[in-house]
């Protein structure tokens, strides 16, 4: 019997560079995780614009959860003693439904359960945000991309270590047709998540 296959009517995020993201043309929140890299005091304190970015990450995280996606907070380093200090609680909100992983490296995948946690949940589409745009966020995005994850860097939800490096950190992602994925804004992503049927 011949089946009539309907044309794919997928949602993509508006205005992403260098291509409408995700590459499949279909944003599926059930396969999507927001990965907040550098989400620990060491990186947050060294990042600029952190107050604004914490607010934006909270907004994006709420949108991702509401749409059925998963939020993962990545902490780096071997001890969490620092995070237990009350003065260090300047960080994005962690919801009960979220995952928290600790990575040995600046790359959130190195020495962590991140890849296992994502694969076990069928999450292959990643939204990258966090603190230390040039370091934890970039290293984690690079590693994710090599492993086949489809990545979007949420530019305004990333706090740079040095604002002078921000444009280059974003440009590098978009070279050669999107060498590490694509870049877009938090408002466009939230809009796309609301448009998914």
């Amino acid at each position: 019997m011949d089946l009539v296959v309907p044309a794919v009517q997928g949602v993509t995020v508006t205005g992403t560079v260098p291509y409408p993201w995700p590459w499949t043309g279909v944003l599926d929140p059930g396969r999507t995780a927001l990965v907040v890299a550098g989400a620990d005091p060491w990186w947050i304190k060294r990042s600029q614009e952190r107050a604004v970015v914490i607010g934006l990450i909270d907004e994006v995280a709420a949108g991702v959860r509401a749409a059925g996606g998963v939020v993962v907070h990545v902490h780096h380093g071997l001890t969490d003693a620092a995070t237990s200090r009350p003065a260090d609680r300047e960080a994005p909100t962690i919801d009960r439904a979220d995952l928290v992983v600790r990575a040995a490296g600046i790359d959130g995948f190195f020495g962590s359960a991140l890849d296992t946690a994502l694969r076990a949940r069928g999450l292959d589409t990643l939204l990258l945000a966090g603190f230390g745009l040039e370091a934890p966020v970039h290293s984690t995005m690079r590693s994710a991309n090599d492993q086949g994850y489809e990545c979007l860097l949420i530019t305004d939800a990333c706090a740079p270590l040095d604002v002078a490096c921000r444009d280059a950190a974003i440009s590098i992602v978009t070279m050669s047709g999107g060498i590490f994925g694509a870049v877009g804004t938090s408002s466009a992503l939230l809009d796309a998540l609301r448009r998914v049927p």
Binding site: Y19, P22, W23, R46, A104, G105, I106, D107, F110, G111, E134, A135, H138, S139, R142, S143, N145, D146, Q147, G148, E150, L161, D162, A164, C165, A168, A169, S171, I172, M175, S176, G177, G178, I179, F180, G181
Partner: protein
């Protein structure tokens, strides 16, 4: 931080930024590797992948001559020399679908026929290393499917088995494969030095920014120096 370039250094120490390299004393050639990243026709040769995409080859070829000179000194000094190549199996079974799709959007699809054979496919002329810095007998070549030379390869095992703790990096492109590999090496505890004149990118501003990103926060991924500083440290 430019005073570090002219600061007097002792024998075996490289005048580097943001700190004199290595952090733990002097260079021990028996524990130091020189990794030459992706000096392939596909990234710096006429008719290769980067040329096919329309980028200026002068930018990715800029570090070729200094790297050839550095290689000769490093070989004489007894460093462990390795080379990497990015490429995929002929059936592309190790190429993630989004990577393949993006390359096709650029009109230079991985696996498509180009002037130097099938683009980024192992065994094709464009995939091999250019003659200026071609490996000599005994120098391992690590074939990698991704940007990072540690991902899905035996690079870490080769380095550990040899007792390597320090890595000097050359190659292309600075902001993509070289940076990714340096980040991986740093996470794994290797003390890294990037040679600023032995690398290049498809965009000059991104090349400069990539060097800056290494030096942030006191050397978040290691240090940066011109090859002349390493040659001076090795030859005394």
């Amino acid at each position: 931080m430019s005073q570090t370039e002219t600061a007097p250094v002792s024998a075996g120490v490289v005048a580097a930024e943001p700190y004199n390299w290595p952090y733990d004393g002097t260079i021990d050639p028996t524990r130091t590797a020189m990794i030459n990243i992706d000096w392939q026709t596909d990234f710096c040769g006429k008719g290769g992948y980067v040329d096919f995409m329309g980028y200026d080859l002068n930018l990715t070829r800029a570090g070729l001559e200094p790297t050839a000179a550095m290689l000769a000194v490093a070989r004489a000094a007894g460093l462990f020399i390795l080379h990497t190549r990015e490429g995929h199996k002929p059936d592309l079974s190790d190429c993630p679908p989004n990577k393949l799709w993006r390359s096709k959007q650029m009109g230079a699809g991985i696996g498509d026929a180009g002037p130097c054979g099938r683009i980024l496919v192992r065994g094709e002329p464009g995939w091999d290393i250019v003659p200026e810095v071609y490996p000599i007998e005994g120098e391992p070549i690590v074939d990698k499917p991704g940007k990072g030379a540690f991902y899905a390869t035996d690079l870490d095992l080769l380095l550990r088995t040899r007792g390597i703790t320090h890595i000097v990096l050359t190659g292309i492109t600075t902001d993509v494969c070289v940076h990714t590999t340096m980040r991986e090496a740093n996470d794994r505890g290797y003390e890294c030095l990037l040679l600023s004149d032995c690398t290049g990118a498809t965009d000059h501003d991104n090349y400069l920014a990539a060097l800056e990103m290494v030096k942030m926060q006191g050397g978040v991924f290691g240090a940066v120096a011109p090859s002349s500083a390493l040659i001076k440290a090795l030859e005394g």
